[in-house]
Structure formats: structure tokens, C-alpha cells
Amino acid sequence: MDKKLTSIVRLLILGLLIAAISACSSDTSSNEPGTESSEVASSEPKSGGTYTILSAADPDMLDPHRQSSIYTHMMAGLVYNKLVTYETGPDVEFTDYNVVPDLAESWEISEDGKVYTFHLREAYWHDKEPVNGRQVTAEDVVATMERIINLPGHQAALLSEVDNIEAKDPQTVVFTLKQPFAPFLNFMANHFMWILPKEAVDGQVDLATDAIGTGPFVLEKWEDNVQATYKKNPNYFEEGKPYLDEVIYKVVPEQGSRIAAFRTGQAEAIGSLSPEELAQLQKTNPDIAVFDALFPTQEQLYMNMEREPFTDLRVRKAISMAVDRKSMVEAIYGGGETSGPVNPSLGDWALPLEERETLQPFDPEEAKKLLAEAGYPNGFDTTMIVTNGYGEQLVRVAQWVAEDLRNIGINVEIEIVEYATYFSERWPNVDYDMGIGYQTYFQEPDEWLRTQLHTNGSRNWYNISDPELDKMLDEQRMILDVEERKQYVHEIQRYVLENLVNPVPLTTYYTKTPRQPYTRDVYPHASYGYGYLKNVWLDK
């Protein structure tokens, strides 16, 4: 009867698998803490202590210009600085994008909008070989920018409008642009713009495994897939900061283990949790704080514009109208809002919520009419690609959308694609009928709009080609007045929702991030980088 025993053992193993998977399932977002509510009054900060971050994964390398992974860039924020960065603080929203000084103390923009002059502050590199704590000079900045331009990858596009970069004197860098370019300052605050010492650019530092910067913490040791240890930078340019002695970034792939560590006070940050996980955590730890923030990207339902019947605007509109976004985000994510062509996490660059909702109504009856007008009174059969590499929530979104489309007669067969194939072949090669996926966390409306929707856009993976839209997308880049540009960006989004309807924005959900009650002055930001830990202190 040993077979009986075997079968019982098998059942037990399945049970264990259930327990294991249940925990690491809903991890679509990374370590992206939410907005700090200002209720926590900041008293006098105390120095000392270790801040432990538990992460689902490790980046494959630390090089902040070769690797676009969120993990690399979150970690880079501890070690490096940019010329300018985004403001964080008690009165700044998670998604406010205010450009403030970082390594550049101040800057001037010429009358014609083509020359940007940055004045560097007095800052020193980390005291590590071969740089040994010397002062930061304009030469470092020029070398770094050249590296960014010359390496392959998305990052070079951020500087595509730059004509010339020059070190005018040791503390002054001058950028000359080919033409006035509105997104320039935002692009300089982008997470790809980490400034390296000249020695590192020259190859004297192995940037894949080491890091020498000017940031609040010094990388002591990085053990791939185990842990990275950071120590306080005693020469950090902001007087008195950072307060923490040490930051530890530990890889714990299993969500259940991360929650358990948080529960017992062994970790300060574990990223966002699903509503169910949070509810369970709060049962045992009622005093934890929870921070809601808009997830900085959205699911998008996209269609191949070179395949029938998606060539027809009425079909695309019908598909957009068939999806019940509000109920979906509530059911699957526990709350969120209807998205738009520019993600709502970009604040008022996005269309106001009300307009996003009125321009994208949920109306299956009207959708059926549109389908009939387009010549598909009985709907049609099609396929939709989705990857499970982003976590199971997206697969549920796909099933939800498929059901909504079935209700207007469109039979969608879901094809689950492995992440690498999805991201490097099927999506970029436009090898699909329909697809559903998350977009990258773009931080500039230009990225959301032009890279995706312009005929020559670097992420136009939908075969979109609309000459009128191209013209508008090119024009908005030239408008230097922020208010004026915002209005025009809104105009473009209205045009997109009425005349293009691809990719169809679905929803942006609210992430829920637990925080230990004793952590103080945690003001995270939607942009990449743990740099905000310079303000953090532990009240215990």
C-alpha cells in the first residue's frame, strides 16, 4: 500500500505549493512606497539605526546607464545624484514633479530656450578607490553625459536634442540644444541621469558591481541576489544628513517571508501589498501606517493597427466602451481610477479625472452599435496576448476585459506569453492582434505621448501612424511655457481619446504600502531612487 502513502505525500506537496504561491502572487509593483500623510509631526530627528528594505528581486547589475530595471535605479538613488532632481518633502505629493537642485546648485536658461547653464555645488565623491573623495567637477558631468549618449539603450534618447555639452569652468556646465525643447529639465531629473566620476566613465571602476557617487550612502558591499549594504556618507553635501547609519537592501523573493519579516519588525520597507495581504497584516500589527499612492503606470489594452478589424476607429472605440473600468479596478485592485493617455500619476499633465471618465464611457449598447456600423453586427473572434511576468493581477485584468468584450460579441482567446518573449518579441515586433500590459513608469508627458503614439516613436509598438497627431506631438515639445504646454498636452490627449483610441488606457490603481510606526520623515516620490532615505530617521 505504499502507493497510498505516495498519493498522500503528493497531496501534501500540493498543499505546500498553494501556501508558497499564495504569498508571492500579487507582486506587480516593486518597492514603491506611497505618499506620506503629513499627520506625522516631525520632531527633532535622531541619528542612527539601520533601515532594511526587502525586495522581491535584485538587479542583474548596478550600472545605472546600461540597465533600465527599476531595481537598479531604486538602489542607484542611495549612491548617486543627478544635476537636478524632483522635490520631496512633507508638503509634496508623491506625484508632484517639481524640479529642484541636486548636484547643480542653480541654473540659468537662455532667452531663446536653447542654452542651459548649470552651476555645481561643492560636493565630494565617496572616499573609495580610485576617486578618493575628490571634489566633483564639470568634467565629471561632461564625461557622464557622453557616456549616456554613447551607450545603447533608451537613455540616449533623453539627450537626443542636445547639440553640445561643455565644461565652461570647473564648476559650470553648459548644455546647448539643437532647438528649444520643453522636456529638457524633466529629462535631466530622469533616473538615467545619475552623475558618475570621470574615473568610472574611463573604466577604472567596475560599474556593474560597484558604485562611487556623491549620494547620502556609500555602497559597502553588493552580493548579487543576497544583499547590498550601504553606510552613511560622512561627507554628504547636505549638512547633518543622512540620519541613518546603515541601509540594507536584502533580496527575499517570497512575499510571505517579506510580510513575516515586516510583521516581526525585521524590515522597514517591503513594497506594496494587495488589499487582502494588508488586511491580514493589520490584524497582527494594528499600529502600522498605510500609505496610498497612485501606481505610476497603467494597464493598456492595445491593438495592432495593421490587422483587421482594428484598422477601423469604430471597432477600437467599441472595444474601449465595452470595458467596465470602474468595477474592474475595484474588484481586482481594491480601488483606483480611470486612466488616460498620460498617466494620472503625472499630476495635472494628465486630463482631469472627470474628463477621463466622460471621454471613455462604459456603454456596451453603444459599443454594439458601433460594431454593427463597422460591419461586425455579430462581433468577431480574435486573440489577446498577456504575460504573467507582471504578476497574476494583470492576467485577471485580461480575463475581465475578455469577458466584457464577449458581452459585445467579440470572442477573445487569451494567450499567455512568457515575459522575455512578451517584452522583447511579441510586443515590440507588433506580433499580436490585441494585447494587454503595463507601460513603463514614464515621468514626462512627452514619453507617454510621443514615444508611444508618434509614427517614429521609440515605443510605438502598435503600428500607429497619424500625420496630424505627429505634428501635434512634435509641437508640444517646443512650447517652453509650462502652462501653455499643459493645455496643449491636454488637447492632444482629447484628440487621442476621440480619434485614435489605441492603446486604450484602462485604470491606475492605488498601491497600499505598509510602514513601520517608528519611521519618520519618509517622503517618497514616484520617480525612481531611494534618495529620499536621506531624510528618514527612526524614532525608537
Partner: protein, 301 residues
């Protein structure tokens, strides 16, 4: 098939003695099975019930297994949804009923294909021996040395999530088991007097394998098959659970368990019903296999 196999230990003349006798013998055997193998008989009934449910699934299931009731997410079992609804408002009972089709389909397809290929390989290996046997058996060793589920995971992940890929992955891990058993049987049969007699009158290798080999090894193959069913069903569920088996929104039991695992505390019925269904069916196959083995074992009967 069963007549022949039950006769395996009997003298040759009996086989030629006519269908009537066979049928009578079969009926007697069935009775004896019911009396001596009560657990096995109950298991068989359970299997037959599940098969029946799978065949008439559309008549039993009150709802479409993939349609979502947007008014009832995670509803507890009630009059409308006897086993409640899942996180997308789908009726758990209907999904369970249709899910039996996937489990059985994967089970049957895998076992039948593995029997055919495994038996073929095993017979060739066992009959010819020597270098052929050597090569085949080392390949089988290689496959068997990797833990079955890990290998299936690897193959399924390589091929992508689809039912036919699950079947391919499971066939690859099942083939060596059949090939092993068949090889041993074949080696035994090869040395028997009747094969020697057959060979002496000039029968070809093919004829010997088909006429003397195959009928005489049906008993162990059938026992193996019933056990393999259980393993296969569990393996399909495991692969689907891990997201590389049956793709959603198909109502595979493993997939249902995987979706439900996040609601283990708040909606336990989501885990309970597919878990129970899976356990009962697999247990039934295993117990039936055991009973069949005991029953067919000449020493015990």
C-alpha cells in the same frame, strides 16, 4: 482487453476456447473484484461518476464556467451559487464540473500516448537487449533521474502555457515508467518456452512481440496506467497552479486553486471545493490502481 489479460497465467488452449467462456470468466472476475477489493470498487465508482460528469458537463453546470457574474464577487455558497463564486464572479460549481473535463482529458491523453510510446520502446529494448537495450535504458535513466515535476515544469515553461504542451510535458515524464515495466516483462517473456517454440517454427521478431509479448504484459500495464492517471492529474494541476499549465480562463482545477490561494482566509470555499475534487479523484485512481494490482497478483488471488 481484460479477458486476455486475466487469462495471462492460464494455458494457451483456454484462450482459443471461445468468446462465451471469456465473457463468463470476465463476469466472475468482476464479481470477485467487487467482493475482494471493496475499496477498489468504490474508487472505480467514483471514477465513473467523474467521467459521467465530464461527459454531460453542460447539462449539470448551471452557468457558463467562464462567464462572470459582476453582481457577485467572492459570494459564499448560497442557493444561487451552490459552491459560491470566485474573485471574478464565476460560479465555482460550474467551473468544477467543466474542470473535470480538463483533468480527464489531460489524464487520458497523457496515459494513452505514454502507454503506446512507452510500451513500444520497452518491448524493443527488452526483446532485443544488448546495445539497443543499453542505449534506450540509459536515456530512460537520464529522464527518470530528474524529479518528475521539475522536469515537467521545465518542459512546460519552455513550450508555453497550453493544454497540448502540458500533455507533451507529462508524456515525456511518463514514458520511462512504462518503458521500464514493459522491458522487464518482455525480458521474462522472451525466455519463456512458448516464445522459444514460436521462434523454432520461424516466427518473426515482430510477430513474437505482438502475439506473445503484448497480450502477456497487459496486466502490469493496466495497473501502471491507473496509477499514472492519478499522477498525471496532480501534475496537470500543479503546472496550472504555477501558471505554466492550462491557460486562463479555462477552469482547470489547478488554476482554480492558484486563483483561490490568495483568498484562503477570506473565501475558503474557493480552495476547498477544487482541492477536495482533486484529492478525491486522485485518491480514487490510486486506490483503484492498488486494488487492481492486488487483484491481478497471482500470489494474492
Amino acid at each position: 482487453m481484460s479477458q486476455v489479460q486475466l487469462d495471462s497465467e492460464l494455458p494457451k488452449e483456454r484462450i482459443k476456447a471461445g468468446k462465451n467462456l471469456h465473457f463468463k470468466k470476465f463476469k466472475e472476475d468482476c464479481k470477485r473484484f467487487i467482493i475482494t477489493q471493496k475499496i477498489g470498487f468504490v474508487s472505480l465508482l467514483i471514477i465513473l461518476i467523474v467521467v459521467a460528469v465530464a461527459i454531460i458537463a453542460p447539462m449539470i453546470a448551471p452557468y457558463d464556467p467562464i462567464s462572470q457574474d459582476r453582481a457577485a464577487f467572492l459570494a459564499a455558497p448560497n442557493a444561487q451559487h451552490v459552491m459560491g463564486t470566485d474573485d471574478l464572479g464565476r460560479d465555482v460549481f460550474s467551473r468544477l464540473v467543466f474542470g473535470s473535463r480538463i483533468s480527464l482529458l489531460v489524464g487520458i491523453a497523457t496515459v494513452v500516448i505514454s502507454i503506446i510510446l512507452g510500451t513500444l520502446i520497452g518491448m524493443v529494448s527488452g526483446y532485443f537487449g544488448g546495445v539497443v537495450d543499453m542505449i534506450i535504458q540509459r536515456v530512460m535513466d537520464a529522464i527518470m533521474s530528474i524529479p518528475a515535476l521539475i522536469l515537467a515544469l521545465f518542459i512546460a515553461a519552455l513550450l508555453g502555457p497550453a493544454i497540448q504542451n502540458v500533455i507533451i510535458a507529462l508524456v515525456i515524464i511518463e514514458i520511462p515508467r512504462f518503458a521500464r515495466i514493459v522491458r522487464g516483462e518482455m525480458m521474462r517473456i522472451r525466455e519463456s518456452n512458448y516464445v522459444e517454440a514460436s521462434r523454432s517454427v520461424g516466427a518473426s521478431s515482430f510477430r513474437i512481440i505482438m502475439k506473445h509479448g503484448l497480450p502477456n504484459m497487459m496486466a502490469p500495464i493496466i495497473v501502471m496506467a491507473s496509477l499514472a492517471f492519478g499522477q498525471t492529474i496532480i501534475a496537470e494541476a500543479s503546472l496550472s497552479f504555477l501558471g505554466i499549465g492550462t491557460p486562463p480562463p479555462n477552469p482547470s482545477w489547478g488554476l482554480m486553486l492558484s486563483d483561490a490561494s490568495r483568498y484562503m482566509e477570506s473565501a475558503p470555499w474557493l480552495v476547498l471545493f477544487p482541492g477536495l475534487a482533486l484529492s478525491i479523484l486522485v485518491l480514487a485512481f490510486n486506490l483503484f490502481g492498488d486494488a487492481l494490482r492486488d487483484f491481478l497478483d497471482p500470489k494474492m488471488s
